[in-house]
């Protein structure tokens, strides 16, 4: 549905986007992840025909964003980083205006507008002036605007920016629901958002794609050669460490900070694909030490992200 091939954008000598390529299939939700200033917004602006790329091509639904810009624009819904709102209009009249300029047929306009209002939960405020709304509402009006005219492709630049946790949850659910009928690209720097809503993640840093995989795939890829288990044990530090190291399959034990009193946090590295939690617990309890906490540590997307970004800088 979306094909990006070797796209670069040069702003006054600086490469904001550098040789980016990816594909998004129909019905997929692609997360675009990266620190601020990584080139997410620029890539999205190229895809939405707002600005042309310096090099490379991008196609949406088979249409080139530069050559067939009008055809592309008919097929996309775009929520820019700052929702493009006219503060003096009411939500309803604003959405009607957008429906008109998107070329919605007159007999469908009303139903389109009320559908978008319903999806974004704006029913109670639809006759309020946009300028007087809170950031969260403005963001939702921006999203409603993108949904008008049922575009095949939705391009959302930080859709949950400025929302409260309840609204964030609602919007994520909404985006997941849209995935069946739309193809979605969303950018964010909030990591849990990606693992919750996206099928695939593209991590971009300094204009370059540094990783591209499913959220689970990325975590797996980064986990490397060991499983980790974290324990908090009440007992003599040296003895505990010795005991744990002696267990079959344990590669390394690190004692961490004391949590006050005699309990200490240990980080245990185990062989890959071995679940030693049961064995570790039994060993600690058999010695009469107090086992206060035990959990398997899976590398979160956050660690993956930080790893990739810092590796790039090193």
């Amino acid at each position: 549905m979306i094909e990006v091939e070797h796209v670069s954008k040069i702003y006054s000598g600086r490469r904001a986007v550098d040789d980016v390529s990816f594909k998004v299939e129909k019905g997929e939700v692609l997360g675009f992840l990266g620190p601020n200033g990584a080139g997410k917004t620029t890539t999205m602006r190229i895809l939405t025909c707002y600005m042309p790329s310096t090099e490379g091509t991008a196609r949406i639904a088979g249409y080139d964003v530069f050559e067939d810009s009008l055809e592309v624009r008919k097929r996309i819904g775009y929520l820019p980083e700052n929702p493009p709102l006219y503060p003096e209009m009411t939500i309803k009249s604003y959405l009607e205006f957008v429906a008109k300029i998107k070329g919605t047929r007159a007999n469908q306009r009303k139903s389109q507008v009320s559908e978008a209002i319903g999806k974004c939960n704006l029913g109670d405020v639809q006759n309020r002036i946009i300028g007087k709304l809170s950031k969260g509402y403005k963001q939702r009006v921006g999203l409603a605007q993108a949904l008008l005219n049922n575009p095949e492709v939705l391009i959302l630049d930080e859709p949950t920016l400025g929302l409260d946790p309840k609204q964030i949850h609602d919007i994520r659910t909404l985006i997941k629901g849209l995935a069946s009928t739309h193809t979605v690209i969303l950018s964010t720097h909030i990591l849990p958002e990606v693992s919750m809503t996206c099928n695939r993640v593209v991590i971009i840093n300094k204009g370059k794609v540094v990783a591209m995989d499913t959220p689970e795939g990325l975590a797996r890829q980064m986990r490397g050669a060991a499983e980790r288990v974290s324990l908090t044990v009440e007992g003599p530090v040296e003895a505990v460490r010795e005991k744990l190291s002696g267990i079959d399959g344990v590669l390394n034990v690190e004692a961490g900070d004391s949590e006050g009193g005699t309990s200490v946090n240990y980080s245990v590295e185990c062989q890959l694909d071995s679940d030693l939690r049961r064995v570790l617990a039994a060993a600690v309890v058999a010695q009469g030490w107090g086992l206060l906490e035990l959990r398997g540590v899976s590398l979160s997307l956050e660690d993956v992200f930080i790893n990739l970004i810092t590796k790039e800088e090193a």
């Binding site: 954008k9 702003y11 620029t42 602006r45 939405t48 025909c49 707002y50 600005m51 042309p52 009008l70 624009r73 008919k74 996309i76 775009y78 820019p80 700052n82 929702p83 493009p84 709102l85 006219y86 503060p87 003096e88 209009m89 009249s93 205006f97 957008v98 008109k100 300029i101 998107k102 070329g103 605007q145």
Partner: protein, 256 residues
Amino acid sequence: MQNILAIWQREMRSYFVSPIAYVVLTVFLFLSGLIFFGNLREVYQYTMSTAQLGQGAQPIDVPAYVTQSMFRTVTVILLFLLPMMTMGLFSEEKKRGTIELLLTTPVGNTHAILGKYLASLTFLLILFAASSITISSLFIYSHPDWKPILAGYLGLFLYGAALLALGLFISTLTENQIIAVIVTFGVSLVLWLISVFAASATGAVRDVINYLSVISHLDDFIKGVIDTSHVIYYVTFAFVALFLAYRSLESMRWKG
């Protein structure tokens, strides 16, 4: 067409929900009314004084005199006020980021420009309609020839249309309304005063400078003469300005 209409409608609404339309209307009506009254008084005093001196008063066409001098002053008022009607057309869209909406929906640049331009022309017609109240009072007390008055309005409309197109173009260049209004005013004033320089020039240079002046083409209209060469001047002026606006929007994409 639907696009142009939608943009026209939104622009008209934004004129009239903000105080700007009312302020411009009020100032325009106040000033043109004041000048109308002043002109009438002048004529009255002139006839009185000639009568007192015992000379037979020269016959003058009072309505024509009054409307013509009012039209001449209105050109100055428009010079000040019209930049206010165009300053926000694109600069405000750029500042709010709504330009990103216009340029990523199937609205072409041409439609966006035409919709906004038509809105500013509509406002100009509203100004004229409101100011015609003073002039129509002449019809109550005398029998003015309405054709020269109409010609004068046509000239003013063309002159206004040219200035509005210029303002629209300048509005695409900046995201600051104040800059847009000042530059528009400055450029219009240069095109206005250029005829002063013509006086010191000679030959072909003088003709060219005179031709460029936005005001020299207006005189015939005010006298009641519709000369197509003047019509062509204003229409070309507006067309060139709108074309420049189009190019400016295009180039904005490339600059990013």
